[in-house]
Symmetry: D2
Subunit: 343 residues, 4 copies
């Protein structure tokens, strides 16, 4: 059986394992106060072009999401998200658990538009800030989205402008950042996120690390006492150096970018195979997640050799996600492409 | 410089690194639903003697503490802890952040007594359960404590009896479980925690793993939907298999027990060195943490070659913690013992 | 200017003021533990036909809503509500502030259907209770709804059946209960709420009291320590006797029912006046709230003599709420009806 | 039986009842946006000497306490209180329920000292603001305290200075403000609270109103969106005008001050009676609460004719609280004084 079920089913890139191995006998300060984390922070500050950005390492993405959001908001403020946003559908109400409402706006292909966000913000801010409403103070988007789709640079800029117009924070969930940056149709550079958002993260767990996400705080007003927020939610790893070591390895080797790009290319082969066969895709994804709409028979046939996840229904078929990753081999892709060809 | 500052300053035991390395190319189900986690669960169920215990793996101890406590309590219930308890002093009010009061009782050498707990519970339960008080529904203790001290089997049993008398849950924080079990004066076996508490964990982060804690839920009433509580707090690692692999390696090799016991023995050498020199220890610790009360001059001398942490003042001196770990070498201990001898 | 802006713009029914006045020099136990509260509780138990119901008095409805909901749910459970529900739109995210997600379902005329609720519950309960979702454990409906509409007895029974099928609590917000019971098309009796829901309240603030709501807990599993939940949210009035006195006066005099029914009848006159004029109503309300869709000119004309609230737009016009109450005089209604006739 | 059990066992001062009665047929805007609230606000701004203070009316004191505290703090900040503080002992952990730790400092006669507060603040602020600690950002004191004692003007000023030195908010719970201001030994004027604290309230419930507390926000940084915090906790009364009417009546008539002062004088007679009899008082209270330490026999004798509350034990006796109020008659006091004389 070949797994296309997700992008976190294998250990870590070679460079990561080697880096951990080679640091094995060294000793470090605790809680990310060590020189390996500092080095990774410098690498990241360079990569995003913001010398004074704060960089924090999280063990996982759900933690990053709710800690960032709850640290940005007072108890009478809320966050805008697409209804399909990861925080709204897959994290067991972790944001509400911190006391905040998610204002759900209807997605188009997993994305929000600047116009939608403006309308939502205007209702509150231009409507007299009524006391019976919470204040939409932050906007949460993902790059890539849950549907594998991408914001264009123009879309990102427009959303950023709305946020600045109303004084709202823009937070970009980059759990699959590597796959977004590597996509053929992508026109956003890593540094653009530092330019247009207030805080974002560079995902490690799904992009080649054993685990971990690197959060970049650009906005000064979000920096103070952020680590206390992390600590309070158990998001400060005792052996923080493990995260510094991994991100240094991923980014300095360049493998973060090259191996994720390869996964995107593999995903395009899979997409083409489905489309050649006349099988529709639920969204126009150019990243490592492809959502094919399959008949029961097609699903059953592919299930003989491949492991995948279902993701609801669409147009009378089942939506099936095929996910490549940094670890997917060309042989695995070929096997799937051939199987699709035989459907 | 030699680090005695804590027990989480180095990577992981050899057996752990090898196990991760050797699993490198395999692929797994996500979120701890894989066969490596299941194998580790079986190993742990066997080790604690409870075939139907639920076992969950956490990335870190703070998460384990607040997720367990908040999952046990309704919003009008609270948890009893020693005033020196880790949850009360070192976790940025993570328990209060979940909405619960910690009822602090004064510690003796880091410990609580059954009599203290009974008095506190009786005030509420025998006092008519007044609506203006929260209900003390859980008791949190650590083994070993923050002071390095240990509960005896009799003490644990007595506390357990009080808890059962009043229908309170007993939760044992075992972040340093390996060092507790390995201490020469310890008379509690791992299976005793399953017998006398409702939920406890076997610490990995400080005892030889890269990271991770293995939580054992014995009480049936705490099992339902526990994983949703974890998920909500971002405590379900996407690559959960990494935790299963580590705990299998630690426990099946037996190194968890032998290397922690060695660290305890090393700590005894350090303790003896101080006592021989007439230097007082703040508590009678038989585990890997030793708290010496040093003069400024003594502190300055040792600071030339060793890294350590200060922990307040006592009897006119500074309390200094020297911490051994699974990774401490005999040479390092010898260097410290010799330096103490020269004070 | 005549106020039709809401149903809480005047003091209280004569019987309420007299009762408070006549108790003026007596002294009472605090926090609702007095004989006047006990008498009101007995009256209510009789009226709802449940001798062992728990009855608690709240100062206001928002408190009642979030205290009841948060007391019913663990932190991984959520409540189903119409998207137009008061808890979802008018209470500044008070439910989310207690850590719980509101699962919004699209309303029809302010109401939910049993089929909608079943589909939502089935997705979770029959879908394997996935850990990344919260458990829908309670259903919140209002009688009458925010749109002034009413559930029929059949609809209430069907919703109740779905709730029992899946083990969910049914909570009825009765802030305007008096107006619901008094409507000409209503076929639900007060005792039916005790039969078909787990907890509901009889609204006082909008139905003739100075302030206060009487909560009836039918389900035994919701009774324990409920008053501690109230206390924790500041919902136990020190002079609780004031609430007992009021509800005794309202219910024993029968004025709660007769004066609210009169307000419904007045509302029908207003509704007829609009419809005779060819002006559309947004919903088919048979209770004291009527939502007319007015042109700007019509709105401006009526605004000369009447105070009212706008409630969004519909079909190119503005939705304007005209609200009668227990205190509305026939002269006031006549003035409005005449003015509408002259539009 | 004569009630000395508390100061909220009777309706309201005559001026309050008359004012409500006389407003009976008027209609008002909702939620405190009416002219009667505005008039009361102006009266209060004048009385405290701060023309731009924000004034909000709460139904009760527990609500005021937790809403103010939670609105002042981020989730990694905490509040300092005496261990005997009302928020720490009598409100079912309402502050912790909002996610915040109360840092308890040991009281002396119910009070905190500036030196204690400085030491606590310095540990955090001068100790490097460690991420594992919450930031003490607010100080909560009561005037009078739970023990009936009073801060002197000098003590208040010193506490204020410490708070300003470290950037902490000072919040004064004035649930019994009238009795504090009226005490013979008091040297603090109402306007001093506006001068030395950031936010405080003038208690109504215990000082002659039917219910309600008037909160005065002096510090500009606490004003924004405060009403949304109130709304979220159900603390905005629909018929807010009832609170405006009451505070106007209480303060404009001057009865708030004169009747509370009379209660203090009555309390002095009771105190003298006990002391003349050689019965010790637990604290030196000059306000309406007196805490006598009685033998079982004395307690039993007085219990024949008087209702009172017990408040723990002290020096081998039971602490018994005798509470006068604005409604206590001289005959009632004489009866008690005589009974004490006969002990």
């Amino acid at each position: 059986m070949i797994r296309f079920n997700n992008d976190y089913n294998r250990g870590a890139m070679r460079c990561v394992l080697d880096a951990i191995e080679s640091a094995g006998s060294d000793s470090f300060a605790g809680y990310g106060e060590d020189e390996r984390c500092e080095r990774a922070r410098e690498t990241i500050r360079g990569a995003v072009g913001v010398p004074d950005a704060d960089v924090h390492f999280f063990p996982g993405a759900t933690q990053a999401n709710f800690v960032v959001i709850s640290s940005m908001l007072t108890s009478v403020q809320s966050v805008i998200s697409a209804d399909t946003g990861h925080i709204n559908c897959h994290e067991a109400a972790s944001v509400e658990n911190t006391g905040h409402k998610i204002i759900e706006l209807p997605n188009v292909d997993g994305k929000l538009t600047a116009a939608q966000i403006r309308a939502c913000a205007a209702e509150y801010y231009l409507g007299g800030e009524p006391e019976y409403l919470t204040e939409p103070k932050a906007v949460y988007i993902s790059f890539p989205t849950e549907s594998g789709t991408l914001y264009s640079l123009r879309e990102l800029r427009e959303i950023s402008e709305v946020c600045r117009e109303f004084g709202m924070y823009l937070f970009v969930d980059g759990a699959r950042m590597g796959y977004g940056l590597g996509a053929e149709r992508n026109d956003i550079a890593l540094a653009d996120f530092a330019k247009y958002s207030d805080v974002f993260y560079i995902g490690g767990t799904k992009c080649g690390a054993l685990f971990g996400e690197a959060l970049v705080i650009v906005s000064n007003s979000l920096k103070r006492r952020f680590k206390a927020h992390m600590k309070q939610s158990g998001a400060v790893l005792a052996k923080g150096f493990l995260l510094g070591i991994q991100f240094s390895a991923l980014l300095e080797s360049g493998e973060y970018f090259t191996l994720c790009r390869r996964a995107d290319e593999q995903a395009m082969l899979i997409k083409n195979a489905f489309e050649k066969k006349g099988i529709k895709m639920r969204s126009q994804s150019y990243t490592n997640q492809q959502f094919a709409i399959l008949s029961d028979a097609q699903k059953a046939t592919l299930a003989r050799d491949f492991i995948f996840e279902e993701s609801g229904t669409c147009d009378g078929g089942t939506v099936v996600r095929f996910c490549t990753s940094w670890a997917t081999s060309d042989d695995e892709v070929k096997a799937l492409v051939d199987a699709v060809g035989r459907l």
